[in-house]
């Protein structure tokens, strides 16, 4: 059924279709409407789930872990400071290999206090062992909710999954969204089956300690299975396309990159505007491209290097800054380029912080800057704040 709904509502529909056993969440702007929608679904019976009204994000995620340890399909949602308040629980859930699915509404971090969208919250937590997906529109948000459970719960993966929606730009913006019916969703998403749970016939200890002599085995298995998630993501997207007719492009989406001399790499909803600008510039005869990174973890280094193979200059446009260094996406993209053995001229465009607008003109200027870089113009500091410095 086609509906005109917000990103949060779309995500809630996706969660409903996934039939979680337990939802455990604490409200925070701009995540609130997704948990409100789920609460209504539980109240009126559209969704049969236990909804835990926890008293904090720390408890939201730790309760989700407890539920997942019983073999329950489990969902939580948060944003910004709430995600940081969960931070220690993120590593528990990931290290315990509990495939909890979380929606994070990307929002700025205090101080200064700010409720609007940027991606500093989730990018600060890249190393906490979760799969991280960044979606660009509301249809992708709904579809990601369903696919997240399928990928996270796959026995080759068994890792928690964070789906990131840009705060307000997606969470509170309305778009037409195709909402699948329950029967189709049930066909697509099998029940969660795992050995990583309590067993009353053969009791187990879960989430124990492992000292120096064993610790690396757990870390290595975690890394190995995160890498293995890449092929599971492809498989799940293939099954999704077969069932629902919507095909997703894997861990990255390359748009007009094949013969591009300059490419702008970005995440999330701003990719839509960058795509428009790419089309404009192409119409002017300028060979530019867009690379949208969908998954930051597992990090698709090979796919990024491949997509940027022909580029003479590469820019990253990101709503994030690692103070004193550069944007975190930039660091990761440089790593992908360095792995292949050659790094072209690069620029890091920092924008959209605290909900700041990223304009069409700024994106055109960014491409112009990349063209100058490709032509050999030197720049002292590759980290550039869109809209000017303080």
């Amino acid at each position: 059924m086609r509906r005109f709904i917000s990103g949060n509502d779309a995500f809630a529909e996706g969660v409903r279709l996934a039939r979680p056993h337990v939802i455990s969440a604490y409200p925070i702007t701009p995540q609130t409407t997704v948990v409100e929608a789920l609460s209504s679904m539980v109240e009126d019976g559209r969704l049969q789930a236990e909804y835990l009204h926890v008293e904090s994000e720390h408890s939201a995620l730790s309760a989700a872990m407890g539920a997942s340890a019983t073999g329950a399909r489990t969902f939580t949602a948060t944003s910004s400071q709430g995600l940081l308040y969960m931070a220690e629980c993120l590593t528990y859930v990931a290290g315990g290999r509990f495939p909890v699915v979380m929606m994070n509404a990307n929002r700025a971090l205090a101080l200064p206090w700010n409720i609007y969208g940027d991606q500093r919250d989730s990018l600060a937590l890249l190393d906490h062992g979760w799969i991280q997906l960044y979606v660009q529109d509301n249809q992708e948000a709904l579809d990601a909710a369903l696919m997240a459970f399928a990928i996270a719960e796959d026995s080759r993966v068994s890792l928690p999954f964070m789906v990131n929606l840009d705060g307000f730009a997606l969470t509170h913006t309305y778009e037409p969204v195709d909402v699948p019916d329950q029967a189709a969703a049930d066909e697509f998403l099998p029940p969660y089956v795992t050995a990583n749970k309590f067993d009353f016939d053969h009791p187990v200890s879960l989430g124990y300690s492992a000292g120096p002599e064993f610790n690396r085995y757990y870390a290595h298995a975690h890394h190995r299975d995160m890498v293995a998630a890449e092929s599971v993501i492809d498989e799940v997207e293939e099954r999704f396309a077969a069932r629902f007719g919507r095909r997703y492009p894997g861990l990255v989406e390359a748009y007009r990159c094949d013969d591009a001399e300059t490419v702008l790499v970005t995440l999330g909803s701003i990719a839509g505007l960058v795509r428009d600008v790419v089309d404009e510039l192409r119409a002017e005869g300028r060979p530019v491209g867009l690379l949208r990174i969908r998954y930051m973890r597992p990090f698709p280094a090979a796919a990024i290097a491949e997509a940027l193979r022909g580029a003479s200059a590469v820019g990253v446009l990101e709503k994030d800054i690692s103070y004193g260094a550069e944007g975190t996406v930039f660091t990761n993209v440089l790593s992908a380029l360095a792995r292949r053995g050659s790094v072209p001229p690069v620029r890091d465009f920092i924008g959209g912080l605290g909900g700041d607008d990223i304009t069409r003109e700024q994106i055109r200027d960014a491409f112009a800057e990349l063209e100058r870089a490709a032509a050999g113009e030197q720049y002292v500091d590759p980290v550039m704040f869109l809209g000017g410095a303080a």
Partner: protein, 301 residues
């Protein structure tokens, strides 16, 4: 049949752990699980019992058990209970049970505990109280009593040790209208076992605060744990009480207290106390008991 020290099960569900000789906390876990049985699902935060019970491959729990984030004992319990119920797989007689220390309960875990009580989640929460952060090396918690020297409240020329008193968890959980709360001591095992059995059979959130002496942190021989657990009740510095259906019950009212000085002087953590400090402690004890007797109907004397 009522469980007591004579009739309790010989089955061990918590053994092979690495707790220190004479550990009071280990007795709490071991005895409680004997009453709750093998279908109990246990959650333990950072603390002595997780540090000594969960060392792969030396895993000490014979029932289902897991480690939780430090602040998250109660919220993990809530999640476990919700997960079992939502899937319809909770066995009859399955108790979802937490064991957290005094710091893990009265300090960092208090918010999650209050949340579980607020929701009246069907979980049983034990605080084993050894009166400091013993696992990390005897640092002060909000359950460390006045006058106790810890590594963060060291006795010295300025102070005899900790200058604050014990946070009253029992009154706090009762103030939320919890279905069942009790205090106990490993020095009175029959009282403890009876309370565990009663709590097992009540639905909703239950809380038992058990005094669990620590030979290392308190400074007494490891053979004296039970004697200290009894002595602290007999001298009135701890008490055995229940809160049920909105009513407080004092299970044991000594009438005449044993000597506080003798009890304190048997532990090296109180080595710097002056006689005047002991008078202060006795006066505070008497205030506590006045309040206790006011709110409790006395069960026995």
């Amino acid at each position: 049949m009522s469980v007591n020290a004579r009739t309790m099960s010989d089955d061990e569900l918590f053994y092979g752990h690495k707790a220190c000789p004479g550990c009071g906390g280990a007795l709490v876990v071991r005895q409680a699980l004997k009453v709750l049985g093998k279908d109990a699902v246990a959650a333990l935060p950072a603390g002595c019992m997780s540090a000594t019970g969960f060392n792969f491959p030396q895993l000490a729990f014979a029932n289902n058990a897991m480690i939780t984030p430090f602040a998250a004992t109660a919220s993990v319990l809530s999640g476990i209970e919700a997960g079992l119920r939502a899937q319809g797989i909770k066995p009859d007689g399955c108790t979802v049970v937490g064991f957290a220390g005094d710091g893990g309960t009265a300090d960092i875990g208090l918010q999650a505990l209050s949340g579980a009580i607020d929701r009246n989640d069907d979980v049983l929460y034990f605080c084993y109280d050894n009166e400091a952060y013993m696992n990390t090396g005897i640092q002060r918690s909000s359950e460390t009593p006045f006058g106790a020297s810890t590594t963060t409240t060291p006795a010295g020329p300025s102070h005899p040790g900790c200058v604050t008193g014990k946070k009253d968890l029992f009154a706090m959980v009762a103030a939320q209208g919890i279905p069942y709360a009790a205090t106990a001591s490993i020095g009175y095992p029959n009282d403890l076992l009876k309370k565990v059995e009663k709590a097992r059979d009540i639905r909703g959130t239950r809380f038992i605060h058990v005094m669990a002496p620590c030979p290392v942190g308190w400074g007494f021989p490891s053979s004296d744990t039970i004697a200290l657990g009894k002595g602290i009740v007999d001298c009135g510095l701890w008490y055995l009480a229940e809160y049920e259906d909105g009513r407080f019950t004092l299970n044991r009212d000594p009438g005449r207290f044993a000597s506080v000085a003798d009890h304190l002087r048997s532990q090296s953590r109180y080595r710097a106390l002056t006689d005047a400090d002991i008078v202060t402690i006795e006066a505070h004890r008497d205030q506590v008991w006045q309040r206790l007797r006011q709110r409790c109907s006395c069960e026995s004397s």
